[in-house]
């Protein structure tokens, strides 16, 4: 989230799209109902289904799953062509005025630099035109034909309301109502918040969905202001935390990058990360990357990390490619993996193309599961008839289950969608023989290291070099770990005058104290301050709110720097005066930046300096134009899902996201519309938490069985009885469920033909107290977003037919 859960209470308009907050985030949804009840805020929902969120919305517009960019681009076009934008914000706080290189081009759905062979782009031409002064050129009058603003107008012009209706199936009047409401927030006085979740991310163009939404918010001036923002609703209580800590293979804690094969030395890694300011007086905060990186290495290798050995950079693994979950299973499927350790992970259920996942698991020598429950994955070898029809005898994978304490039996911190790190205490001791994750991992680490010590082995150095400095090496405490994330001074730190600012061994109060000479450590710079000299701020529970804007600055710790709204300098105009008196948040009081929140800015940098509010960017402004940051182009383009009921109505020659990775042989696993004409989308149910609670009696009671949601028209066409059995098939497999025939899904007219949709909840499986079901990912395609490698779970093709139900033994 750019903003926070509590900040949603400040909004005037809530737009839920690509998510179903009432269903998946019922507790956070409370802030939506507060904004509605207290401020008279309006709520609009755009979704393929009339969801639980839509049930309490003021406006609902249907959309075909997978066509969000067309819809959102239609909104961009509406705002631009009706001049319904926040002019001053767009001019000063976005790169609208920046001039793009002359060799940039966009033609027939493809940007300049495309290489069909590699399914990738040479992104050189997507950059700004540079001036002789070393800064990017811009035209503040926005008249230059190649300034971002004018390129944008031309680029989005095709997305007319008629085109949106044709591509997305949204009736024009319902679409226009959305546009009008969005436009009503483009003035600095009113604010709109956008809430999204996996309904936007789980597409082959997921990152661009969110980018388009961000562009709308920038055009409306809704970023950095109370009640605004682009707000990702994170699923698990700590999924923000696991992203922050860098569990994705391509990243390190705090969104630092994992070294690649192309970066053999620390300097080569840092070379592409200088982030020189592109305008005068810009902060370009990522210039500090080196400090954060070196502090991280110091935490990892301790005294063994020295300037001489590049702080141990050499010990870091170097990636040859991205190893996201799909890639891991592809490698496993090729028989190239010996063992898999799943920690709180149920891949048989959660990875696309489950039949391939099950085949891949069958090729492992061993599988280890660290989990409080017996997951479906650890029983992948078990034949469940219709629901998991495997040949048990032929599977030789040895499965180990290590019982882990549940979250109520373990203390530590959770980081929620608001980026707030909150401590939670153990309510009880671990049950039975279970141990905490930390204890198990510490034990494993020490045993493996001991084996290397005793027996030697290939390249033991990285393992041996790790600094394992805990009071009890077998049981590091969560407090020790949080302190380690925070970082400390390794020597007495001095300022320019030579005064000691931080004593050796003291915790750091802010990442501003980090140094690149090895005199500080800290695993995760963005968390610095959570456990500073003042103690464990994650444990703070003060719910005072002096500004009345729902800031709650002394509740837990919000990264970075306890800031509750990111880019909050943008809540004030260039002269430092709040856009809206009612929503005055961070402003210039004549001598410094002050207000309800921690300014996301150098507190003493006067407005006259012209420093932009988006301090992470070398431009100092936000990017309507993404430069080279996105794999498939600087502007979003409507690309169909890889399985689409129609050819791309706007760019008929392009199939799917041209930059998305498709594994060898996987084009063959895609189905086509002739055989599978129905659009399917998967989602969660409020009654369950992922694949866990199907093991819990009470949750099984309130939602006991897998079902397939479909329109009355589709049911009539196929002869499907409400409540009867139905078989859903994709090109990869089929599942059985109960038919939920509803008015909440309607057939849509797409490019002149009727397109049906079905909804498939994902919480059911072969194991648990709920009625048995196949993993829903039996159906889903193994293709993912070109940037984040998030699988395309939300839009694929199936067919449905009535069924007599499972064969009875």
């Amino acid at each position: 989230m750019t903003n926070s859960w509590t900040d949603i209470g400040n909004t005037d308009l809530v737009w839920i799209m690509g998510g179903n907050a009432a269903e998946a985030h019922p507790c956070g949804f409370k802030w939506v109902t507060e904004a509605k009840a207290n401020r008279g805020a309006r709520l609009m929902v755009v979704d393929p289904r009339f969801t639980r969120s839509a049930a309490v919305a003021d406006h609902y517009a249907p959309i075909r799953a997978g066509s969000d960019i067309a819809f959102l681009s239609g909104v961009v076009n509406y705002l631009l062509s009706n001049d319904a934008i926040h002019h001053e914000y767009v001019r000063n706080y976005t790169n609208a005025a920046y001039i793009v290189r002359e060799d940039f081009d966009f033609n027939e759905g493809l940007f300049s630099g495309y290489n069909e062979e590699t399914r990738g782009y040479n992104r050189e031409s997507w950059e700004y035109e540079m001036g002789d002064d070393g800064f990017a050129r811009r035209d503040m009058s926005l008249r230059h034909p190649r300034c971002v603003f004018n390129l944008m107008k031309a680029h989005f012009a095709p997305y007319t309301p008629e085109m949106v209706q044709r591509v997305s199936g949204t009736p024009e009047d319902k679409f226009l109502k959305v546009c009008e409401w969005v436009a009503s927030s483009a003035n600095g006085e009113k604010a709109m918040t956008i809430m999204y979740a996996l309904g936007w991310t789980q597409h082959s163009h997921g990152a661009q969905n969110i980018r388009t939404a961000a562009m709308i918010q920038l055009l409306c001036g809704n970023i950095g202001v109370p009640g605004g923002g682009v707000n990702a609703l994170r699923g698990h209580s700590n999924v923000q935390g696991i992203t922050d800590i860098g569990t994705l293979t391509g990243s390190l804690p705090g969104y630092l990058a994992m070294p690649t094969d192309a970066e053999p030395t620390l300097e080569s890694h840092l070379a592409s990360r200088h982030f020189t300011p592109l305008q005068e007086n810009q902060t370009s905060y990522w210039q500090n990357y080196r400090k954060f990186y070196v502090s991280f290495l110091k935490s990892l290798y301790g005294d063994r990390a020295t300037p001489e050995n590049e702080f141990g950079y050499n010990w870091m693994p170097k990636l040859d490619t991205t190893y996201d979950a799909l890639k891991m299973f592809d490698v496993m499927h090729k028989g190239q993996t010996t063992g898999l350790i799943c920690q709180g992970f149920n891949p048989m259920m959660s990875i696309a193309h489950a039949n391939k996942s099950i085949a891949a698991l069958s090729k492992l020598k061993f599988l280890v599961s660290l989990d409080p429950i017996e997951t479906d994955t650890v029983r992948f070898w078990e034949n469940h008839g219709e629901y998991n029809d495997v040949d048990t005898a032929s599977i030789q994978t040895e499965v180990f289950m290590l019982p882990v304490a549940t979250f109520v039996e373990d203390e530590g911190s959770f980081t929620n969608s608001s980026r707030v790190v909150q401590w939670k205490w153990a309510a009880m001791a671990p049950s039975y023989d279970s141990r905490t994750d930390i204890d198990i991992l510490a034990d494993l680490f020490l045993r493996i290291r001991a084996l290397y010590e005793d027996e030697g082995g290939t390249a033991p150095e990285p393992l041996m070099a790790v600094d394992w400095n805990y009071a009890d090496p077998l049981a590091p405490t969560p407090e020790e770990l949080l302190m380690e994330l925070n970082g400390k001074a390794l020597v007495d730190l001095r300022d320019a005058e030579g005064n000691i600012t931080r004593r050796r061994g003291e915790q750091l109060a802010s990442f501003g104290e980090m140094r690149d000479d090895g005199s500080t450590d800290g695993v995760q710079w963005i968390y610095t301050g959570v456990y500073g000299p003042g103690g464990n701020f994650a444990q703070r529970r003060e719910n005072d709110d002096p500004s009345g804007l729902g800031v709650y600055g002394n509740w837990g710790f919000s990264w970075p720097a306890n800031r509750r709204i990111l880019y909050n300098r943008a809540s004030a105009d260039p002269s430092g005066k709040p856009w809206s008196e009612e929503k005055a948040y961070v402003y210039w009081d004549g001598s410094r930046w002050t207000g309800a929140d921690v300014p996301d800015f150098v507190a003493t940098s006067a407005p006259e300096n012209g420093t932009g509010p988006f301090i992470m960017n070398p431009e100092g402004v936000s990017r309507l134009w993404a430069r080279r940051m996105m794999a498939e182009g600087p502007f979003p383009v409507h690309y169909e899902p890889f399985e689409s009921p129609v050819p791309n109505p706007i760019f008929p020659n392009v199939r799917g996201n041209p930059a998305a990775r498709v594994f060898d042989g996987d084009f063959e696993v895609f189905g086509d519309a002739a055989e599978f004409p129905i659009v399917a989308t998967t989602y969660r149910l409020v009654e369950h938490f992922h694949y866990w609670t199907k093991n819990v009696h009470m949750n099984a009671v309130i939602q006991p069985q897998f079902f397939v949601e479909m329109s009355e028209q589709l049911a009539a066409e196929k002869g499907i009885e409400p409540g009867g059995w139905v078989r859903v098939s994709s090109h990869r497999g089929s599942v059985l469920g109960k038919a939920m025939v509803t008015k909440r899904i309607k057939p849509l007219q797409i490019d002149g033909r009727t397109v049906h949709s079905v909804g498939l909840p994902l919480n059911f499986g072969p194991i648990g107290l709920t009625r048995k079901a196949s993993p829903i990912n039996v159906l889903t395609p193994p293709v993912a977003d070109a940037n984040a490698q998030t699988p395309e779970f939300k839009a694929f093709l199936v067919d449905v037919e009535p069924s007599d139900g499972p064969a009875t033994a």
């Binding site: 009432a22 269903e23 019922p26 507790c27 949804f29 409370k30 109902t33 507060e34 509605k36 009840a37 207290n38 008279g40 309006r42 009339f50 639980r52 969120s53 839509a54 049930a55 309490v56 003021d58 609902y60 409020v686 009654e687 009696h697 009470m698 949750n699 099984a700 009671v701 309130i702 939602q703 006991p704 069985q705 897998f706 079902f707 409400p722 409540g723 009867g724 109960k738 038919a739 939920m740 025939v741 509803t742 008015k743 909440r744 107290l769 709920t770 009625r771």
Partner: protein
């Protein structure tokens, strides 16, 4: 927002009401206390409800109920109906309004805690159903005989009789929580404040703000469901379409205790006992007046004669 009810202290608390605060007791003549406790009410704002069923599980948990795991039959309701173990249930209605727009009306069903409780009136077992002066209608398991008369008395089809112990069950309005200053468990669990709890006066007043809000959103007929046919209820709804409560999964439009039940419990009782008494009295009087109808000696002689004449002796 309605102010949140603070968490309870960890110290033991004396219940704020009990046996001495009964307004009515089934099949019993009692004298209610001179002063009534402040009437309480639960307000269910249907327009804020997201149908998450947190209230349903909170109810199961607080009341330590174990419901069976059922099947999906093509609808969101689970279980399919109230049961002896499910005292509250989310009911979902898909309604296409006059503008052709879909509305998904989600109503939390359960005991309404009528001011004029039909269940209590129908109940033959003394003290099996009680009504506290604060308005809560509660079933007292130990006194329940399982006759099911409450089922017939209820205008909302709420009580359910257990197959296991043949006792009647329904929402207690968490009488045990309310007695120590807490709101019902469902209210506590509701993430969107679709359920709030307080005095009936507060709830009625608060509902007006919600109704205003709904009217501003185009629901001209928004209103408070506090049906006069049962003298009002202690569980009230804010409905978007208060002119048509039955849209909400058949919520009674004009609930009142069935005339059949009124007749049974009123007229038939008194006329019945009167009739029985009258018959007995008439017999008694008749006997008093006319004396016994005795066989006379002549009758016996006649019989002798007949018998003698009829055959040999």
């Amino acid at each position: 927002m309605f102010p949140v009810i603070p968490n309870p202290t960890t110290e033991p608390v004396q219940p704020s009401f009990g046996e001495a605060d009964l307004l009515r007791r089934s099949a019993s003549n009692i004298t209610p206390p001179a002063t009534r406790q402040t009437e309480v009410a639960k307000l269910i704002d249907v327009s804020k409800c997201i149908g998450c069923k947190a209230c349903q599980t909170a109810c199961l948990e607080w009341n330590d109920l174990t419901e069976e795991i059922g099947d999906n039959v093509g609808i969101y309701e689970n279980p399919l109906d109230l049961t002896p173990d499910t005292w509250t249930l989310m009911r979902y209605t898909e309604y296409e309004n006059e503008q052709g727009n879909l509305e998904w009306l989600i109503r939390k069903d359960g005991c309404m805690h009528c001011e004029d409780p039909g269940c209590l009136k129908a109940c033959p077992a003394p003290g099996a159903i009680v009504q506290y002066t604060n308005g809560i209608v509660d079933f007292v398991k130990d006194n329940c005989i399982g006759c099911g008369y409450c089922v017939k008395g209820c205008p909302f089809n709420i009580p359910r009789i257990s197959k296991v112990d043949n006792k009647a069950y329904k929402c207690t309005l968490c009488v045990d929580r309310v007695a120590v200053g807490q709101g019902p468990a469902c209210q506590k669990a509701c993430p969107t404040q679709a359920i709030v709890f307080g005095t009936k006066a507060e709830m009625t007043e608060y509902a007006q703000t919600r109704i205003e809000d709904l009217k501003s959103r185009g629901y001209a007929n928004a209103g408070l469901y506090d049906p006069p046919g049962v003298d009002g209820t202690h569980v009230m709804y804010v409905l978007q379409h208060n002119d048509r409560p039955s849209l909400y999964a058949g919520l009674a439009d004009n609930p009142r205790i069935s005339p059949l039940v009124e007749t049974w419990k009123g007229l038939s009782r008194y006329t019945g006992l009167t009739a029985i008494g009258a018959f007995a009295a008439i017999g008694f009087l008749h006997h008093l007046v006319s004396g016994p109808n005795e066989v006379s000696a002549e009758d016996e002689e006649a019989a002798q004669k007949l018998a003698g004449g009829g055959r040999d002796t």
